[in-house]
Amino acid sequence: MAELRSGRPLLLQGNEAIVEGALAAGCRFFAGYPITPATEISEMMAYRLPAVGGTYIQMEDEIASLGAVIGASLAGAKSMTATSGPGFSLMQENIGFACIAEVPCVIVNVMRGGPSTGLPTKPSQGDVMQARWGTHGDHPIIVLSVSTTRECFDITVKAFNLSEKYRTPVILLSDEVVAHTREKIQLPHPEEIEVIDRIKPNMPPEWYIPYEDNTRGVPPMAVFGDGYRYHVTGLVHDVRGFPTERADEIKAFLTRIHRKIYQNYFDIIMTEEEHVDDAEVIVITYGAVARSAKRAVREARKRGVKAGMIKLITLWPFPRQALEPHLKRVRAVLVPEMNFGQVSREVKRINQGMTRIEKMNRIDGQLITPDEILTRLLKL
């Protein structure tokens, strides 16, 4: 069977592991446009999807790719696209559509140096804020990040699950280092993997109110062709899906699509802690840099510094609750990033004077090394 390559050890690139994760999560549609350093995801999808009865299509550009992904999701297929900065910028308008029409889908952005064509073959973490704020209008979004090949698999599965559960686009941020590092991993067996599917309506079609609120804030989603004929639009709409300009309906709708993310905060945020309990200084980190940080923290401990680290897997909604208790406690926080300081801004925002936040940035296309972090840690 061509479906899952679990059971035996494999040497996989991060990009390949994302493909495996997507297939394991039930992804059966991929539309994309090649771009370094995300291209391998397209190429692997072109090879693997038809064999599992899915569909791969290379579209004329990234705008079209995300359009097709949203269409396919509405027609019932778990869908994904993958790109890097320039393509991600082009996708912004349709990301907003997926938000407002509440269409589950996964968008992978393998970050490379920017802005513009920038540094096509070099890693970066320059798109963290863009992932949250890139499209116009105030919109809810879930953004996850990965730092190892294994995570590329696991978090891709998670991305699909969250996307289906909350009817929202989920953005997965990888970077050139994670994408192209080949690592030995062993994929879990299908039965070990939790796969979540969207809730579909089970009432008779006449009773279906496609955008009706409920406690979860996530209405069941009918699939085109299943007998629930309804209207999907990028305009702000009423509970039946039709455009509205009534202030009360606008407010109810926009509040709900925000609420569905924020009220489920604890289900969505994921962080990983290492040596945090007794730490006096901590590193807050994500993506490839987290691997350097891990080594640095261990080295620092060896040298007697009580260092710890928190790796952010969920970047948005920003995992405030997971960080706050530690900010209250530690002497200082270091936030190393391959940008001019994006997550560090957020840490400062929630910090409100509790501790000292130091940023540490590299924007020259090179991965921050363990040594660099160590040096800073020792001085904190």
Binding site: G71, A75, T233
Partner: protein, 278 residues
Amino acid sequence: MAELTKLIHKYLRHAKKFPHVWCPGCGNGILLGSLIRAIDRTGFEKDDIVLVSGIGCSSRLPVYVDFNTLHTTHGRALTFATGVKLANPRLQVIVVMGDGDATSIGGNHFIHAARRNLNLTAIIVNNNIYGMTGGQYSPTTPYGSYSTTSPFGHIEHPFAIAELAVTAGASFVARGTVYHTNLLDELIEKAIYKRGFSVVEVISNCHTQFGRKNKMGGPIEMLKWMKETAVRVEKAEKLTEEELKDKFTIGILVDRELPVFTMEYEKIRQEAKKKVSA
């Protein structure tokens, strides 16, 4: 006749959404009538029809009909439609776009959809103007016309939408007008039946934003203009270039058999299943 009441009941979201938002006399309403008649004739189930549109006056159409309806972003309707069709090839996907939507911002998706020959039906309401945003020139605004962004006369040349679709590779290409409704019903019906990418360019009137500014009058005068200016392709073949000056042709421009994407992809799946092991 009087089928109308039946059709209204069957296909329109009549109880809530009418009267519709279009201006008095707008061709979009006439097209909507042709569309539901044509669909009715094809016999497809409402549940199996997905009506997709972009943004514009004409793209408001899906709100009014009781199918699976999808009102996308400006210019992108065909890309969404591509995803719908590929994820469930059983669905009949019809895409309604304005001239601006389909050939200005969406021009690339249009020629690529034609090239790719996915089994979709594109209906392009060509009113020679951006209606919804208040009358700016579109890629089909004639040379010399006035619009709010060509206050001194337009200096660009219009696309021939149907001809562009032919060159780009569509399987079926036709042009009709909202004056010639019987023909239009028939063209749309054929287009939906066609396996492969089919296009119907519908010449329509936006008197509010185009007609009045260009001394073409209101809806009545513009319908008369269509009547007088359209020439059947069959007849046009017999006319000289001189005789055809300032005329446009209506009817079927091309109807050809080409391999269809979804069927070809099914072959790929079979082959991949043989070759790819996990």
